[in-house]
């Protein structure tokens, strides 16, 4: 018999053997009784009682060229063992398991959220304070995001580590020079100043150390003085407009008689020589002064422009008729004698007379779904063009209305920095995090 024919007979025998084994499995109905040893022998692989290399296949290439990181199983150490004194007990303690461990999920808003707004009427530009991505974005005053557009790009922006912008809230633009004044509310306790046209990741032209928790800013241009509210100290601090470094304030309104209660927005009526302050109503108590901690209604308190020390307000606007609800920024139309309030938690802009007092109802209220107002924390009055602007922390928008607008009115223009349906995530300065195990929800206080 030739080699070729012998080989053919051998293959046939193997094939018959395999078919017979398979048939036996099918007919016997009990795969457990299959003699895989016979099948393996028939396939020319001899059982050895040891592991055998059967095949080799490469791992799929990782996108970054690295292998998957080995994740050890949960620690098997008992509580009793772990409570032994001394150093690490489990073999995986002290390991580098956490070093450079990437998160499996990240909850963050990748779009700008606007805490304050100002308009440079010389350059016809709108400046928006982005407290989420820590920047200032500049748009043309007449920019109007088409409804179908994803968002509008700014003309330029200030952003980056060198700018020292962080938790930036108060914003002021010098009406003559266009200098940009930005107040940081937390961590870096600074007022930073940039020249008009500044862009990119650049250092401030000037810095002033401010008290912790400084929030709003207003400037008396005639006297060249700037006024800022300080939440934690319940005070108003007044500096030279050109102050810098560790320069001290010229004056400070502070004390139990001031009725400053977690002050936020501030505005100046230079015509009447008044200061207006929006308060959230949190009273921290000063037992030595006979003041107990409590929750008062939100209010607007009014002081003389040159006031100093522990002075009582000239007037207080407070009460249920006012509709105040976490009042944020303030702005004044001196010509008409009107005070505009960015009313954060009510999604509204309220308009009062500058002479209002007590439980006064606003003369106008811009509010409703057509307005696109959502947590407005910034407001700016443009008397030159007869418009009022709002920056909305709730929906990535700046919206502008006629100065005399009232009710549920659509804005004249909208500058939108995120897709139209996008609602802001509302995470800002997450100093803590909690976990609701019942609802499987992450709790984020801001």
């Amino acid at each position: 018999m030739s080699d070729k024919r012998r080989f053919g007979w051998l293959c046939s025998a193997i094939l018959i053997g395999l078919v017979a084994a398979a048939a036996w499995v099918l007919l016997s109905g009990d795969a457990a009784r299959v003699n895989w040893d016979r099948a393996a022998r028939a396939a020319l692989r001899q059982p050895t009682g040891e592991a055998q290399l059967v095949s080799i296949a490469p791992f799929p290439a990782m996108q970054d060229g690295e292998m998957c990181e080995w994740m050890p199983a949960s620690a098997s150490m008992t509580l009793a063992f772990s409570l032994q004194a001394g150093g690490p007990a489990a073999s995986n303690e002290g390991s580098s398991a956490g070093m450079n461990l990437p998160p499996v999920r990240v909850i963050r808003d990748t779009y700008a959220t606007y805490s304050a707004i100002a308009v440079d009427l010389n350059s016809n530009e709108v400046l928006l304070q982005d407290e989420n991505l820590f920047g200032i974005k500049v748009f043309d005053r007449l920019a109007d995001t088409p409804p179908a557009a994803q968002f509008s790009e700014p003309k330029r922006q200030l952003v980056g580590h060198n700018t020292k912008l962080e938790f930036n809230c108060g914003l002021y633009v010098d009406p003559k020079t266009g200098d940009i004044y930005s107040v940081n509310n937390d961590t870096t306790d600074l007022l930073v100043v940039f020249p008009r046209g500044a862009a990119g990741d650049i250092r401030p032209a000037r810095e002033l150390e401010t008290p912790h928790g400084t929030y709003g800013i207003a400037v008396d241009e005639d006297a060249s003085e700037m006024y800022m509210t300080v939440e934690h100290a319940n005070s108003i601090v007044v500096y030279r407009k050109m102050a810098e470094g560790a320069e001290k304030p010229l004056r400070e309104i502070v004390g139990g008689d001031t009725q400053l209660e977690d002050p936020h927005g501030i505005a100046i009526d230079a015509k009447n020589q008044w200061i207006f302050v929006a308060n959230h109503g949190n009273v921290g108590g000063r037992e030595t002064l006979g003041i107990s901690s409590r929750f008062d209604p939100p209010s607007i308190t009014v002081y003389p422009l040159k006031g100093n020390g522990n002075i009582a307000p000239l007037r207080i606007i407070e009460g249920s008729n006012t509709r105040l609800n976490w009042p944020a920024a303030l702005a004044i139309d001196e010509g008409r004698g009107e005070l505009y309030v960015a009313n954060d938690a009510d999604d509204s802009i309220l308009v009062f007379r500058v002479t209002d007092t007590g439980n006064a109802a606003p003369t106008r209220v811009i509010r409703g779904p057509k307005t696109q107002l959502k947590n407005p924390t910034g407001v700016f009055v443009d008397t030159k063009n007869s418009e009022v602007w709002a920056s909305n922390m709730g929906n990535h928008r700046a919206t502008v209305y006629d100065l005399q607008a009232n009710g549920d009115v659509a804005p004249k223009r909208v500058i939108r920095s995120a897709p139209a349906e996008k609602v802001a995530l509302a995470i800002g300065n997450p100093g803590a995090v909690g976990y609701d195990s019942m609802r499987e929800e992450i709790l984020v206080p801001n």
Binding site: S74, V104, V106, G284, E440
Partner: protein
Amino acid sequence: MAGENSQPNRLIAGQRTRLSRTMHDIRYDPVHDEMFVTNPFSRAILVFRGGADGEEPPIRIIQGSNTRLLGADRLDVDPVHNEIYVPNGRNVLVFPREGYGNIAPTRIITGPDLTSDDVGTLAVDPVNNVFVTARDIVREGQSNFSRLLIYDRTANGETNPLRIIAGPKTEIFRINQLQVYPPKGRILAAMPGAYDMQQPEGVFVGIWNITDNGDVPPRWKIAGPGSTMLKPRGVAINAKDKEILVGDMRMNAVLTYYFPEIF
């Protein structure tokens, strides 16, 4: 599961909530389905029902001169023994969980270490009967306050810590939020680095054991460029899924890490 640009399921905000526009702690009580936060500006402890939403007021408020609260940023709740613990600067105040109004604390824990440390953050372990404190604002030259203090949970009056975790090996500069995982006796600490720096170096979330003492490094550390964290201030635990949640103030984000090692 929430991720980038997710919308929140719920938003609790507005005047009636009595919340300030800034908060630095929140604790969930799974036994009674309640949330606990402080309002430091009005020196109050606010308790909300677990399912609160919108402009919903708190169900209980602890506030007033008898409370001795000084405007605490942080707190923790012990749902087993029904107590609220508040790091109050020079002391730790303990209130009944269901306390309401202008009530005095049931216990005031003081001591030279608490006084000097101006204690600002805390976590309580009701199973192993300890609580852990730390100072949350430490500036250059104050490294002697860079430490974790472990106390007997039932302490009252002038008390010394059972153990102190401190020293260069700990790499602690200051601690913001603290958590404990009682089944394994773990302490989780968010270490955000220098207070007045925007992106400090060496930030991490460190894990120790409640039995640790002295100059011991964290048993585990989530850190490094790959972790993406820039300034971690908050830390929480999802034990069921073996996850550690980190609130990062510089990123304005919450990061979730799968970390089965500590569970």
